[in-house]
């Protein structure tokens, strides 16, 4: 008899420490499902970042490397260059990737490093208790933006659209943005991850999937309310879809140029 649905082999059968309604657990699960489908569990290595997902090495049932905050893409570079036939997953939060580790991600992407970044955008610093992230929306409250993010007088800057930022770099081949707020988006996000992992193992270049993810605890919301807030506030600003796809055999360029019917 064929098993249609079960616990992924690449994920240990234990309960996570993540808060109720947190996106990290769902993202872990779809990563594990893709790895199982590709049959690469014993060839996978995750760099788990400093952030709530520092715990991911407790849950994934394959090798892991834990680097310093934000240096995740540099460490992934070292690993992948040594083990080019392995699936290297550079898992990062928005503070890790878009604040302290901005230099590391831009240059890893620009060199076309052949690992896949899973960029978990929850618009907040989860682990340290709800400080403003580079991706915090304008007006969104955080412990360090108590009156809401104010790019004007308070000079707090604007939320960074990371996929769009990286799309200009020659080394990036696949940049997609998904969300884990409902079943349909989870399925789509899983497809993006699979595409990125397969491209990685073909050695095509830098691939990243950004995933919009709820942090009910630090947003000060119930889990259901948090998913509604994500849909109503994050998705309109962080557009879902394949932002850039220049993988072999694909039609696309960057999303803006293809919708404009512009140059490839």
């Amino acid at each position: 008899m064929e098993l249609i649905y079960g616990h992924p082999k690449s994920l240990k059968p234990i309960q996570t420490k993540y808060c109720p309604g947190c996106g990290h657990g769902v993202i872990h699960r779809i990563i594990a499902e893709v790895i199982d489908e590709m049959g690469v569990q014993e060839r996978s290595i995750i760099t788990n970042p400093v952030g709530c997902s520092i715990w991911s090495d407790l849950y994934f049932d394959f090798d892991s490397v834990q680097p310093a905050h934000g240096r995740t893409p540099a460490a992934s570079t070292g690993i992948k260059r040594m083990l080019p036939d392995h699936l290297v997953i550079c898992y990062q939060g928005d503070g890790d990737l878009a604040a302290i580790g901005t230099a590391e991600i831009i240059h890893a992407a620009n060199r076309g490093e052949k690992f896949t970044t899973i960029f978990v955008n929850n618009a907040i610093y989860g682990m340290t208790g709800g400080q403003m992230a580079p991706t915090t929306l304008i007006g969104q409250k955080a412990t360090t933006a108590p009156y809401g993010r104010d790019p004007g007088e308070a000079g707090m800057g604007y939320p960074i659209q990371v996929c769009e930022l990286l799309a200009t770099l020659g080394g990036t081949k696949y940049l997609a943005r998904g969300s884990v707020n409902n079943a349909a988006n989870i399925r789509k996000t899983k497809q993006y991850i699979k595409k990125a992992f397969e491209a990685q193992l073909r050695g095509e270049g830098f691939t990243m999937v950004e995933v919009l993810s709820a942090c009910p605890t630090n947003w000060g919301m119930q889990p259901v309310q948090a998913e509604e807030w994500l849909e109503g506030n994050m998705i309109p600003f962080y557009k879902l879809g394949e932002i850039k796809n220049t993988l072999a055999g694909s039609e696309g360029g960057t999303a803006s140029s293809s919708t404009n019917g512009g140059a490839k």
């Binding site: 788990n48 520092i54 394959f62 090798d63 310093a68 540099a74 570079t77 260059r81 040594m82 240059h107």
Partner: protein, 355 residues
């Protein structure tokens, strides 16, 4: 077949020795006075289809080393003082995760941007665990191009043996000067044994999964892991301390100096001898572990010491700890990229000995 003697800069000799020691990945960022090292690695690592990356910063370079080491490779980065400050975060993590790697500091003079002339003012940073947390790592100090090459092979061996970063602390003079050097035969990286604790290649053996990490959020667990590491440090102190002695038996005064300062001290020793004054040199080759036992023995024999440094006095603290009040310890140093002259050191010797 015996290797030929080649005339080379210290920086290039370190690079060539690293390649021969089986380094399969080098990551660096330009900084004077070590640029020849990075350029040599670029040319010869790429020629050999090994990994060379000019990183976007020293912070990135050391973290690439962290990743490559976690994947089981022999790996290295090099820089000079300001860049080494940036690497300290990564060195602390590598020490906390027990990752072997080689870090070369072709030191210049600080603080801040300072100058590009040779200095020995990074002694504290190198020997005291220059980043955060309770840790040490081996520090090797060459005094010649030949020794720079020899210690580079040794550094990779020691790093793998003790699972820790090993630093080569040279200075701009050792890096820039040319001398004859004979290299040891090359090791093929593929011939090195796999490291059972490293990540990757799980499919070959179906072993348990491996985690490389420095995190322990339970205080008792972190304490146990630090204590276990310090037990290893005790073993290292017992077997790895290295030094060279010249004329210490006859000497009325023993100079203590490493690297370039030791060369100056040797010159001062000759000048002194011509004037009928017998002095000696004690040259630590490992700055950590510091060869304190032997210095203590010499102190017990009634010797007195003069620490000669290119700093305002850093190694002298280790000399004083080693002699533990049993002998008088004086200091002569220049800083800011100034190198003490043999005559200056001789004048200090005569002043101390009242001769």
């Amino acid at each position: 077949m015996a290797e030929e003697k080649r005339l080379m800069k210290g920086n290039e000799a370190i690079a060539e020795a690293a390649i021969r020691a089986g380094c399969s990945a080098y990551f660096g960022y330009p900084i004077t006075p070590q640029n020849e090292l990075t350029a040599y690695m670029a040319k010869h690592m790429l020629d050999k289809k090994r990994v060379f990356i000019q990183a976007e910063s020293e912070v990135s370079a050391i973290n690439m080393v962290y990743g490559a080491a976690a994947a089981g490779a022999r790996t290295m980065t090099s820089s000079s003082s300001p860049g080494i400050s940036l690497k300290q975060e990564g060195i602390s993590y590598a020490c906390g995760a027990d990752l072997p790697c080689v870090v070369v500091n072709v030191a210049r003079s600080g603080p801040g941007l300072g100058g590009i002339s040779p200095g020995q003012a990074d002694y504290f940073q190198s020997t005291r665990g220059g980043g955060h947390g309770d840790y040490f790592h081996i520090v090797l100090a060459p005094k010649s191009v030949q020794e720079a090459a020899d210690l580079t092979y040794k550094a990779f061996e020691l790093a793998d043996q003790w699972r820790m970063p090993v630093m080569i602390l040279a200075d701009g003079l050792i890096g820039q000067m040319m001398e004859g050097v004979i290299f040891q035969p090359a090791i093929d990286p593929a011939s090195l044994p796999r490291k059972p604790w490293a990540t990757g290649h799980q499919a070959d053996t179906h072993r348990e999964i491996n985690h490389i990490s420095s995190i322990h959020l339970v205080p008792a667990e972190l304490e146990a892991s630090v204590r276990a590491r310090f037990k290893r440090y005790d073993q290292i102190k017992a077997v790895e301390s290295r030094y060279e002695e010249v004329n210490v038996d006859k000497a009325e005064l023993i100079m203590v100096g490493y690297g370039t300062s030791a060369r100056v001290a040797l010159g001062a020793m000759e000048l002194a001898r011509k004037q009928g004054i017998e002095v000696g040199l004690f040259r630590p080759i490992t700055l950590w572990p510091f060869p304190d036992k032997r210095l203590g023995e010499l102190a017990a024999k009634g010797k007195r010491f003069l620490s000669v440094e290119m700093s305002m006095g850093q190694m002298i603290e280790d000399v004083k700890l080693a002699v533990n009040g049993k002998a008088e310890v004086s200091f002569y140093g220049r800083c800011g990229g100034m190198i003490p002259t043999e005559e200056e050191v001789l004048a200090e010797i005569r002043r101390i000995l009242k001769k």
